[in-house]
Symmetry: C2
Subunit: 444 residues, 2 copies
Amino acid sequence: MEPYNGDWMRKYRGHCKLVVKPGSTEEVSKILKYCNDNMLAVVPQGGNTGLVGGSVPVFDEIVISTARMNQIRSFDEMSGVLVADAGVVLEVADQFLAEKGYLFPLDLGAKGSCHIGGNVSTNAGGLRLLRYGSLHGSVLGIEAVLPDGTIVEDLCTLRKNNTGYDLKQLFIGGEGTIGMITAISIQCPQRGKAVNVAFLGADSYEKLQLAFREAKSQLSEILSAFELMDSYSQDMVHRVRQNKRPLDGEYPFYCLIETTGSNTEHDADKLEKFLEDVMSKEIIADGVLAQDETQIKSLWSQREGITECIGHFGGTYKYDVSIPLKDLYRLVDETRERIEAAGLKGDSDEFPVVEVVGYGHMGDCNLHLNVAVRRYDKRVEEVLEPFVYEWIGKINGSISAEHGIGIAKKKYLGYSRNDAMINQMKQIKKLYDPNGIMNPYKYI
Amino acid sequence: MEPYNGDWMRKYRGHCKLVVKPGSTEEVSKILKYCNDNMLAVVPQGGNTGLVGGSVPVFDEIVISTARMNQIRSFDEMSGVLVADAGVVLEVADQFLAEKGYLFPLDLGAKGSCHIGGNVSTNAGGLRLLRYGSLHGSVLGIEAVLPDGTIVEDLCTLRKNNTGYDLKQLFIGGEGTIGMITAISIQCPQRGKAVNVAFLGADSYEKLQLAFREAKSQLSEILSAFELMDSYSQDMVHRVRQNKRPLDGEYPFYCLIETTGSNTEHDADKLEKFLEDVMSKEIIADGVLAQDETQIKSLWSQREGITECIGHFGGTYKYDVSIPLKDLYRLVDETRERIEAAGLKGDSDEFPVVEVVGYGHMGDCNLHLNVAVRRYDKRVEEVLEPFVYEWIGKINGSISAEHGIGIAKKKYLGYSRNDAMINQMKQIKKLYDPNGIMNPYKYI
């Protein structure tokens, strides 16, 4: 039972005594109907890679796992529409599509274990939303089971379908609170033949914003990622891995730019011209262009390795938030100041906090504010919360960019949604799940 | 009152005696609260360019016009997010954005008069959905007023916001049946500096599908439109306009391919190579590439002029449907056969039907099946309906790709949605509009 009762961050623990692994939508329907009739609480669980406790049975809920529902149902090579079970692992789906010249329009760190049903249920965003958009746009249909066992058959494979309220949207990001997604249909883009990556250093956050603007303008349709990393995050990677840094000098800010397109020559030409331009204008202090696949992976690992490296010291307080671009990094500085002022950060073991770092999907205004700690400590939490949420509430940011609400953020929802909105959400929850058996006491 | 009581197709007529033109969201709130308290039915109306009677007061509803709510509220040049009143005309919004180097991610024939609030309410699709995706993905937030006067403030300007059910999605395509949209925030893409257009002729629908597949693969990230036109539609344009045809020969099928990108040279290179390739492989019989802005307009008018030219003879029965690509054109052939078999089509005035034509957004599997008539005739209707809807229902198509349900398709909803889905929709309607004052007897 162990892996089903906890999360990989070891923040949440449950007391679930029963995991069911249905092999079909009909079985999910029977299970839910039984649970609903007998007032038994359930938690749908995919790869259980979430960060907000949404898929963890924090009480004694029954876990309904999608692990056995892992078949690709169909793929249309003309339209690029994939229909697949909820329990297909994201990376498996993407590899299947790669062979056909397509890609799954979502990519994230946990791709090797997360399930696509969980991705849709949590409205996962990830690395390339900038290019391929939100799941609200790319998911064409879902099959889901309501708490009373009703099977919602809405596996549309057409991009345009204006026939009534688009109810599937409530399940996208609904975190299994109104029903359980058992399959999805999704529009997949062509896989770009040419991928290029550049790694740049900038002297200030202001200059990095200028670089982003130029990238949008000059790289436009081929820009597939614009990732921010501060010096603190890169120092941590260097400290843990002892590797050679991509650039000779050190800078307060770095970014990773990826382009994806259909013509290697054209794309390299655009990226080189862009680099020359931003360096000659002194927007960027230094930069390097990956010369081959190995270098591409190596540059990406400077960004993707952050999570692992900052977790190395014991634990991490993670905030995944959206903030208008101009104010985005200010939250990291102000949080660091507060932690330092409270005397909680230092080099020796007596201080709980190792470092406060900022990185994330700058192209989507999505900041990962991470506080690396030697141990979880109530004093650190008190400095961080509700400060971080209040700060975000004041500038109309989002307290959850992509990880969702789960149990972690339920009490902070009011910083991003007003009473009228929360009231409407509660009515939706009541309409779909009148007995409150789906993921109870979470979300809303 | 005249323009508010009818639609531009002259298919629907109402008996509305009162049009209100609120100047602010607060005024909309007061109006709706008053109407709700006094059980007065209302119809929100934007540019009134719809095709399904959704914005027409088919009884004696009060029209609430968005005409005076026409201000652009803000635009962020860094993120590309536009916030604007519901009553801003689509073309006005796009021209505003053009000056900033951005574009509105929606384009359609009625752009000169339709309102963006109406576009979102009807989930308009248009010409470039293929490239810029659905409004479900690009609309970031809405402000709306519920029937009881509650103002829903959800004008998020962030791309990633996972804080509870995405309720705004119910209003996108909700056709003003659960509330009235008063403003939207929308993610706008960079405006491509380079636009190229090609016009191709093909010997069969099968070959046109091959051309589409090659276009997706070779033009990939720069492909911004792939439009289908059959010979019947082009004959009609030629018959009405007496203009020179773009190609020397005549072919059963034509397509218009548009590319949009950031580099003219690269894009022209890709498009030329594509043309050479599909012609050398005999996928395409003949093709022409626009050499300047005038030729681009001229080629587009072969596609965009179809609606006007086929309306020239009296009237048009219009079906806007989604069909899996391989079966898409078959509906046009089979409909023509039925009309001919019923003896309803001919060259002289005694026959009601002039021609049955097919065209549309092939890149989105979106067919416009149009029946050009000299006069509306019950016998033609009986041959067309429910035949067309049954045909689409059988192959899991959508009876409404982009025009919506309104009053025209309410009774046919069952061909695209099963009972469980329709039942859920009814519950949503009841939840939001318990008195049933919003656009009554339409939609659901």
